[in-house]
Symmetry: C2
Subunit: 274 residues, 2 copies
């Protein structure tokens, strides 16, 4: 057994899309063995948190989708950028100009309901707005930033692109790059690979980084991001994985598994030995 698994594992972080199901028309298709793998971790008493950069759906909608595929998971297990940025906005008393998917706009409603939070925006929050990345919406976000003394831009994730209904599609990180260039600023990333984001899921399980394993299909955001925090990173050969990922110039996964079932086999075998 390779040495990466010698240290005890007290909790597992999982990406959702490409690890639990493959995206596609409608609800996509479940990845064989993944439902049983999560059930097995539960049986073994290993806590699981799902860390996702999904910003086109609420956590409730994500849970509905997962339950449809047979997963036994709750909203509390899901860590996604929208609740994370809401905490940041409240803490720093910022009023957001939103460039987000209509499906998550409502999540910001409570924040914007108080009178003082309906004033002039003091930051821009952009998620994966999909077709909402129109010229007019991009320009409005740009104008909001330019009107600020010190422009603050939150990017919910920093992905370049992803696979949607079998075709590549530009992700929020690319549109954030446009506003970063226009305003000479750096976006604050909320979501993977931000260390704060991984940290919140670890804190919720009450464990430290070196006690956790992250399993994902994104070599940079999932595996590289986790490793930068001291979390072991496992790459799966499902989802957006391509053989090129195995020779990434800077990120070397601690382990490459065929799929989540394969990764959990190894994790569980390790639990028994220790």
């Amino acid at each position: 057994m390779s040495d990466w698994i010698e240290k005890p594992i007290k909790g597992v972080l999982l990406d959702i899309t490409g690890v639990l199901y493959e995206s596609g028309e409608g609800l996509g298709t479940v990845i064989p063995g993944s439902v049983e793998a999560i059930a097995r971790l539960k049986e073994c008493g290993v806590p699981v948190r799902l860390v996702t950069n999904e910003t086109c759906a609420t956590r409730e909608a994500v849970v509905d989708k997962l339950q449809h595929h047979g997963y036994n998971v709750t909203v509390e297990q899901i860590f996604s950028p929208v609740p994370a940025v809401l905490s940041v906005l409240k803490e720093r008393k910022l009023i957001p100009h939103l460039l987000v998917h209509p499906a998550v706009e409502n999540e910001f409603k409570s924040l914007l309901s108080s009178r003082e939070n309906r004033g002039t925006p003091t930051c821009v929050v952009m998620g994966d707005a999909d077709e909402g990345f129109s010229f007019v919406n991009m320009n409005d976000a740009f104008l909001a930033l330019m009107a600020m003394d010190k422009p603050v831009l939150f990017s919910l994730g920093k992905g370049k692109y992803y696979k949607h209904k079998g075709q590549l599609q530009l992700d929020v990180g690319s549109f954030a790059a446009a506003l970063e260039f226009a305003c000479d600023i750096q976006a604050e990333v909320v979501g993977k690979p931000s260390p704060q984001f991984f940290g919140a899921a670890l804190a919720d399980m009450g464990i430290t980084a070196d006690q956790a394993v992250m399993v994902g299909d994104d070599i940079v955001s999932d595996v590289g991001g986790a490793q930068k925090c001291g979390i072991r990173g496992v790459l799966v050969r499902t989802g957006k994985y391509t053989p090129k990922c195995e020779n990434h110039p800077t990120v070397k996964p601690n382990f490459i598994a065929d799929n989540l079932a394969n990764a959990v086999d190894l994790i569980v075998s390790c639990l028994k030995q220790i």
Copy 2:
């Protein structure tokens, strides 16, 4: 007299918007004294070329607008990115996927009329598409780049934003930054501040860089771009000029003039002395 003007001046390069007229509703408004200033250069036998990053109008349409304002200029005097990129495409036998303003699409017609040039695109050409920077158009350009063995992206200028009808508006450079980030590439800039672009206008006048003066309202693209080529750069206090430009961290104009008339006064006085 400052030493920048001691070397002979054999030709003058002028930006158009913000130097010859102020943009605004309709055709904008002429800048007082600029029509007479260009006429004066002609009387003195100093050749003039207009170097513009305008990609929302053909050169013919630009000349019409200038003639409406009282300028005596011809299409041959105008150097703009569309004819420049057409030369590059022909030379390198590239087939473009276009993300440009509808007003200049026709300019590419002759290039795309031959059978071999209607094949799979081998480059993307993006100009200021204005509202054409929709999500779908951006994604189509991204997919065209991703389908190429070695993606080639031409950005017609690299401006962050400009003033349009009294309001700031995102320029082509910002949208190019999104595709550069998405595809991990660097766009080739055709237009100011590219040295090739300034070089073509100099070659047309048959003069060298140190014999020319560039007058513009953009501290980076006009003044800084010209200076990088060895051309003297004059900033005017019209157009998009703001007092902040006078303290730019890296670009120091050879001279700052209140307007084109003021700049030409100095140029003409220098001609008389030599």
